[in-house]
């Protein structure tokens, strides 16, 4: 390249580079990344001790990355480059296959499964063993089970066997044959409530509380639902719609959250504009929450030990019970359960996704 050309080239390069730099310095900071659903790092506090311990520098590095201008656009560029130019199978362990984004759930962590079943066994020994409850278990296989060949996936059957072996006191209910990839959101980890009626009916039949087909009306809560994987991957699919099923029973049901004395509804529409729109269903992530069926024709109760998948499923079981209690031992200790609930004459369902069982160390 001739010197004259280099002058022009240098001017263009430096102008672009310096404009980005100046924008980085000038653009106001953001508190939250909606796409990644996390709090962004802010400018660290300046102090002598902070600087001398190099903490200031570490925090500044995080701040510089988190507050970079058009961060989401750059993250998208990274994903596109990785997947389409470099032909990587996944970005940050997130796989784009069959029109879905999925997190690689591999390898099977038997230690984690043991941790989970130890917790369940503790609950059984402490609260259920000497009570007159009917105990059931069910595992929801993640999207990896339904994806076509070519991705890494755990041995789901082995996972299921391990759980069943450790929970001999529970009747295992198989639901995964009723599901396919289309029953899950393309951009999210979760399943779609509107596709779960068969699953709900199967569970009710296996728990001997099925009282016939119930009809629902389908309502759209959010047209452009951007699931958690979409934010994490930086890719934009933009084809998910967050929907919920409702009927008179659900509209009249009352939701009571152990953390909030005010009574609520089964669906919290205001949640769709919050960080995680999936919290629309039964209060979202909360340690203990109950749905009381005001129109119940029986006195049967159901207790579900669960993760987030059960939030969208539970409303579809309400018509067969007078009360459903959802317990999430990621947010409360299993040792304190007796302070909140008495186990007597209930159906108890342990229902967890393979994602959680394979990384269960948050269970308390």
């Amino acid at each position: 390249m001739k010197d004259k050309h280099k002058k022009y080239a240098l001017s263009i390069l430096l102008t672009i580079w310096f404009i980005i730099a100046v924008l980085c310095w000038m653009v106001p900071t953001k508190d939250i990344s909606n796409s990644e659903r996390r709090t962004l790092a802010s400018m660290p506090e300046w102090s002598v001790s902070n600087v001398m311990s190099a903490q200031f520098m570490e925090q500044f590095e995080e701040y510089a990355m988190d507050q970079f201008i058009e961060r989401d656009a750059f993250r998208k560029l990274k994903s596109m480059t990785s997947l389409y130019l470099l032909q990587l199978n996944d970005v940050n362990d997130l796989l784009y296959q069959d029109g879905h984004i999925n997190k690689i759930n591999y390898p099977l962590n038997e230690d984690s499964i043991e941790h989970a079943t130890n917790k369940f066994n503790y609950i059984y020994d402490s609260y259920l063993k000497d009570s007159d409850v009917n105990i059931y278990s069910s595992i929801i296989y993640d999207k990896g089970y339904h994806l076509s060949e070519g991705s890494l996936s755990i041995d789901y059957e082995h996972l299921s066997n391990l759980v069943q072996q450790e929970m001999e006191y529970a009747n295992y209910i198989e639901i995964n044959d009723l599901l396919s990839l289309t029953d899950f959101y393309a951009s999210d980890t979760h399943w779609k409530q509107e596709n779960l009626i068969d699953v709900a009916n199967t569970l009710l039949k296996e728990m001997h509380t099925f009282e016939g087909i119930v009809s629902y009306s389908e309502q759209i809560a959010l047209k452009d639902f951007e699931g958690v994987y979409q934010g994490q991957s930086g890719l934009s699919l933009g084809n998910d719609t967050l929907t919920f099923l409702t009927n008179q029973i659900l509209e009249d049901s009352i939701v009571q959250d152990s953390l909030d004395p005010t009574l609520g509804a089964v669906y919290d529409i205001s949640a769709v504009v919050e960080r995680d729109p999936y919290e629309l269903y039964v209060g979202g992530a909360t340690p203990l929450i109950s749905i009381t069926n005001e129109l119940a024709t029986n006195t049967k109760e159901l207790v579900i030990f669960r993760d987030s998948f059960a939030s969208s499923l539970a409303p579809l079981l309400v018509h067969s019970y007078s009360k459903i209690t959802l317990i999430d031992i990621r947010y409360m200790s299993s040792e304190n359960l007796s302070e909140y609930i008495t186990f007597s004459n209930q159906d108890v369902l342990f229902m967890y996704s393979s994602l959680l069982l394979n990384d269960s160390y948050t269970l308390k």
Binding site: H5, K7, S53, N92
Partner: protein, 461 residues
């Protein structure tokens, strides 16, 4: 501070460049010095004192050597300078290794010091040692300007990972250097190419090596690891050298090349002429030749080779794996020197395979946390009966990283550079080059913004 970080790219470097080019020529070394100290302090604030001590100590030693008329005194000052440099290195880098060995041999329980390693200590101590030796040998005059000398020792482009620059090589440029648009452009282009090599090739290959560590073993994955790690370390380190050379050029300095396509070598002897050239030259000029080199008979040559390569290994880290790594090269170089080189020259295809095989094996030792794990990994390459040849994981990651590994192999040859050189002769290529560099800047930024895997191997040396 990493060159491959948002902080460096969009905060530190633009500010340094603005200030550097705005101030008059006479203050430019001061600007470089202040920003270099800031750059160093960013990672290790407390060790800035160590840096200042090293600068002042070696500067004064240089002055004393030059101004002493008595040869014995000169020798004494040289001894002090070299011992001080080596002592710092021994204390900060090797004290725990020495204590561990004493505890093992003497069955004692001396507590470890657990010092954090000052970043780049192996590089800047070697630079100051080379300076006092060069002054003693009268290869160069002692600096009479401490600002210039301090700028030489701690200039941020090459401060923490080389290349090991000798004072004699940039002495003139420390006093006067010509800044030109052409050099600044070439420097930026070289820097961006190095940055891309680091972020888009080295880091991704590094990720694959990390995955290997937690994967189900298979013969295929052991081979993928051996190839990926060799390429990873090459792209990681040569990218840093590219960035250092590019930054040097922006600020008017010419640093010598540190890598010259080592993977095209057809012998280990040739490999070490192409790999980390500044380190090889340092050991040749300041250890091997002073020991007598190959001028004192075969027996002494063998001893000298073993000493040099044991030290080269130890320079890379305080672990027996590095000693074994160095000694493996000593044995291979000796065998080549004695008879193999003649045959290798006749069998070029075999020579290439032989070189790549042993380089790959050596880097498996280099990366292993212990000698036993290194042996286990090397056996993994040939465990055809005890391990599965392939498994789901190895196939998945081979499929995933195939393009990157292939691209890395291609880029490790001179073909892309030669192609680019030819292309640059055409006038119409200029806009494409600029667009290419801008695209690289954007893509690299995208990878850095997302906080991907981004360590730098040679920081630990």
């Amino acid at each position: 501070m990493l060159f491959s970080s948002i902080t460096f790219l969009y905060y530190f470097l633009p500010i340094v460049m603005i200030v550097y080019f705005v101030v008059p020529n006479m203050y430019r070394n001061v600007v470089l010095l202040i920003f270099s100290l800031l750059f160093y302090a960013w990672g290790e604030p407390i060790y800035i004192l160590l840096m200042i001590f090293t600068i002042v100590e070696s500067y004064l030693i240089g002055r004393c050597i030059e101004h002493s008329e008595c040869h014995r005194k000169k020798k004494m000052y040289l001894g002090i300078g070299v011992i001080l440099g080596i002592s710092l290195l021994l204390y900060f880098k090797y004290s725990d290794f020495i204590i561990l060995n004493i505890n093992e041999i003497a069955n004692t329980e001396i507590d470890l010091l657990k010092l954090s390693l000052p970043i780049g200590i192996s590089f800047f101590t070697f630079q100051t040692i080379s300076y006092v030796i060069d002054v003693y040998r009268r290869d160069v005059s002692a600096s009479n300007n401490i600002i210039n000398y301090a700028t030489y020792v701690c200039m941020f482009p090459q401060l923490i990972a080389g290349p090991i620059v000798r004072y004699a090589d940039i002495n003139d440029e420390l006093t006067y250097r010509e800044l030109s648009t052409s050099n600044v452009y070439d420097g930026i282009a070289r820097f961006l190419v190095g940055l891309s090599k680091k972020v888009l090739i080295a880091n991704l290959l590094g990720e694959l090596c990390q995955i290997f560590l937690t994967s189900d073993p298979s013969v295929l994955f052991y081979w993928m690891y051996a190839i990926s790690f060799s390429l990873h370390i090459y792209f990681d380190f040569s990218a840093y050298s590219d960035m250092a050379i590019g930054l040097g050029k922006i600020f008017g300095f010419t640093f010598l090349e540190n890598f010259n396509y080592p993977f095209i070598s057809k012998s280990i002897t040739e490999f070490w002429r192409r790999w980390h050239i500044s380190l090889g030259n340092w050991f040749r000029d300041y250890v091997y030749i002073p020991l007598g080199g190959n001028r004192k008979g075969l027996r002494r040559t063998i001893i000298n080779i073993f000493i040099v390569w044991m030290l080269t290994g130890l320079w890379h880290g305080s672990n027996y794996t590095f000693i074994v790594w160095g000694l493996l090269f000593a044995i291979l170089l000796l065998i080549e020197k004695l008879f193999l080189l003649t045959y290798l020259k006749k069998m070029k295809g075999f020579a290439h395979v032989y070189t790549l095989f042993f380089v790959g094996i050596s880097f498996m030792i280099f990366d292993a946390p212990s000698v036993s794990i290194a042996i286990e990994r090397i056996f993994g390459l040939f465990a055809f009966t005890s391990l599965p040849l392939v498994n789901d994981q190895s196939m998945y990651y081979l499929n995933s990283y195939f393009i990157i590994i292939g691209f890395a192999i291609f880029s490790a040859t001179p073909i892309p550079t030669n192609f680019m050189k030819k292309l640059r002769q055409y006038r119409w290529s200029a806009p494409f080059e600029v667009v290419g560099l801008i695209l690289l800047l954007f893509v690299v930024t995208a990878f850095l913004v997302d906080g991907s895997y981004n360590p730098f191997l040679y920081f630990r040396f």
